[in-house]
């Protein structure tokens, strides 16, 4: 019996070792450097909470927080209802149901960065495929500057919706399949029509699952930045700069602009603040949605 425990430790060791060294240690590293002035080279200087004071005064950061809010809200307001409607339709008996499910899910399997390149080619204002088609069929009289300051955020939201709907549709489908059939049969016996079944059985029964799915959707959309990074790099004029993209630029000099920004100590403080904001929003949503659930 004792030997078995030794075997167990041997088997857990690789997992534990990797998690501690490449997961937990980097986290502690970041927590420490929040309190330092550290550019990534030279000697780190302890400055206490100064980095956080700087976060509070950092207009670029707070504008990225605002952009993240617009981005997440725009994405969620379309993605959640649309994926729920698709899931409800595809949960019923319907010809071609599994093919449609497969088609709607397809966009979610591809890399956000690769799809951003594809959308860059489609939305390109000068010679993009979309503008060419719109002009050809006389739907617009002049090319729309999809990636310009006025529309860039809308474009990134459209791309985010495209990549997310299939995923949430599937999660909603899983939730719908958890509703016992007896309830629908009972409702039918009581003379309920399809609309009443939806209102009095499906939606209330789906409540807890929906709460979890929306929470997941909120955190994921607050964290997303890969496709924006590839599509617009946060531009034009910082119009599509989201929190995590701004953070990334503080930490890694990928372009000439971010080269001047690079600041590891300050970046750690921004990272911590960002995580707090995401956690805070999730917590507030959780409280509100719980209260709403209690009311029903």
């Amino acid at each position: 019996m004792k030997l078995k425990k030794v075997h167990a430790y041997v088997f857990v060791f690789p997992s534990l070792f990797l998690t501690l060294v490449f997961g937990i240690y980097p986290l502690l590293w970041a927590l420490r450097y929040m309190f330092y002035d550290y550019q990534g080279f030279g000697t780190p200087v302890f400055i206490g909470l100064d980095n956080f004071g700087r976060v509070l005064r950092d207009h670029q950061f707070w504008s990225s927080v605002g952009n993240t809010g617009i981005y997440a809200l725009g994405k969620l307001l379309v993605t959640v209802p649309l994926s729920l409607i698709l899931a409800i339709i595809l949960n019923r008996k319907l010809k071609g149901r599994s093919l449609l499910r497969a088609i709607y899910y397809l966009p979610t399997i591809f890399s956000a960065s690769v799809m951003a390149i594809v959308f860059f080619i489609i939305f390109n204002s000068y010679n993009g495929i979309l503008n060419q088609l719109l002009l050809k069929y006389h739907l617009v009289s002049a090319p729309i500057n999809w990636l310009g300051a006025d529309h860039a955020m809308l474009t990134t939201i459209i791309i985010a919706i495209w990549g997310a709907v299939g995923n949430y549709m599937l999660l909603f489908l899983a939730g719908l399949q958890g509703i016992p059939n007896d309830l629908y049969e009972a409702a039918s016996l009581d003379g309920a029509n399809e609309f009443q079944k939806l209102k009095y059985v499906t939606i209330p029964m789906l409540g807890p699952v929906m709460q979890m799915i929306i929470m997941l959707a909120i955190t994921i959309s607050l964290k997303g930045y890969e496709s924006i990074m590839v599509l617009t790099e946060g531009g034009p004029y910082g119009k599509t700069e989201v929190m995590y993209l701004y953070l990334f630029k503080l930490l890694f000099p990928v372009s000439a602009e971010s080269q001047s920004l690079q600041q590891l100590g300050y970046g750690s403080a921004v990272g911590f603040t960002t995580a707090l904001i995401v956690g805070g929003v999730t917590f507030i949503y959780f409280r509100i949605s719980k209260k709403l659930n209690d009311v029903y």
């Binding site: 078995k4 425990k5 075997h7 167990a8 430790y9 088997f11 690789p14 997992s15 534990l16 990797l18 998690t19 490449f22 997961g23 240690y25 980097p26 986290l27 590293w29 990534g40 649309l82 698709l86 339709i89 088609i103 709607y104 397809l106 966009p107 399997i109 591809f110 890399s111 960065s113 690769v114 951003a116 390149i117 594809v118 959308f119 080619i121 489609i122 010679n127 495929i129 060419q132 050809k136 495209w162 709907v165 299939g166 599937l170 999660l171 899983a174 029509n193 399809e194 609309f195 939806l198 590839v230 953070l247 930490l251 890694f252 990928v254 590891l264 750690s268 990272g271 911590f272 995580a275």
Partner: protein
Amino acid sequence: MNPTNTYHTLSPKLARWTGKTVLWVFLLTAAILAIFPIVIVVLGSFKTNQELTSSATIWPQSWHFSNYVQAWKNANFSRFTLNSIFVSVATTIGTLLVASMSAYAVNRVHFFGKKAYSLLMASTLFISIGAVVLRPQFDLMVMLGLNKTLWGIIIILVSAHATCYFMLIGFFRSIPKDLDEAAMIDGCNFYSVYWRIVLPLLRPALAVAGLSAFQGSWNEYILPLVFTMSNPELQTLPVGLANLRYGIGAAAEIQLMMAGACLSILPLLVVYVFANKSFMQVTLGAVKG
């Protein structure tokens, strides 16, 4: 949801017909929007650059397979593909091995620290401060001398195996412990039970978890981007493709970007067609776990 309600004045037959039409128009529009970009990139990869930039066609006027030859040879996609395959295969095998070993031990043996370990794994799913951890991870790899190989990326990807762990541990409950005991009586030890009894039985679960690990590592962008900033020869497909945008004259060679994008979505597309059901399970597992 039932459109018949809104058409009281119409005859029931007509109302039902109208409702069905509206439903199918909606479903088909959504389906077309979902696959439009994929169709555009696949068909676009065979067009000439001139056709791509100046004439609004969907179907290619003539098919240019040479785009792929050019992307493969001149734009270095052979190198990117090889790197991507290496990273994804190694990460998938590593993740499955590490996660299944620890899941097996946690599910079968009571040992000191088990609760703490499970808590640690669960917390790694929730703690995320984004890109901040990339720098210390990179420094660690420099210390280990692995920053100039693909192993640095692979090890970090394998270390994020918590999702896979939770997927597998769910499946372990369905493998009866009696089976282990019977095998032990027949002369198996802890390790051979794992290797010869448990892993073969776990095959469907390993397929689902492996698919998710493969998809994740094949699509990973940020980590390879950071690691290949000074080693361009290590770039994977998403990084190499994104860099085409900034390369000199790249803007003029959209057909190469299209062919490159196709090369990087093709393996997942093929796997998806054959393993559609498993893909669906990947996400279904996520809502339960």
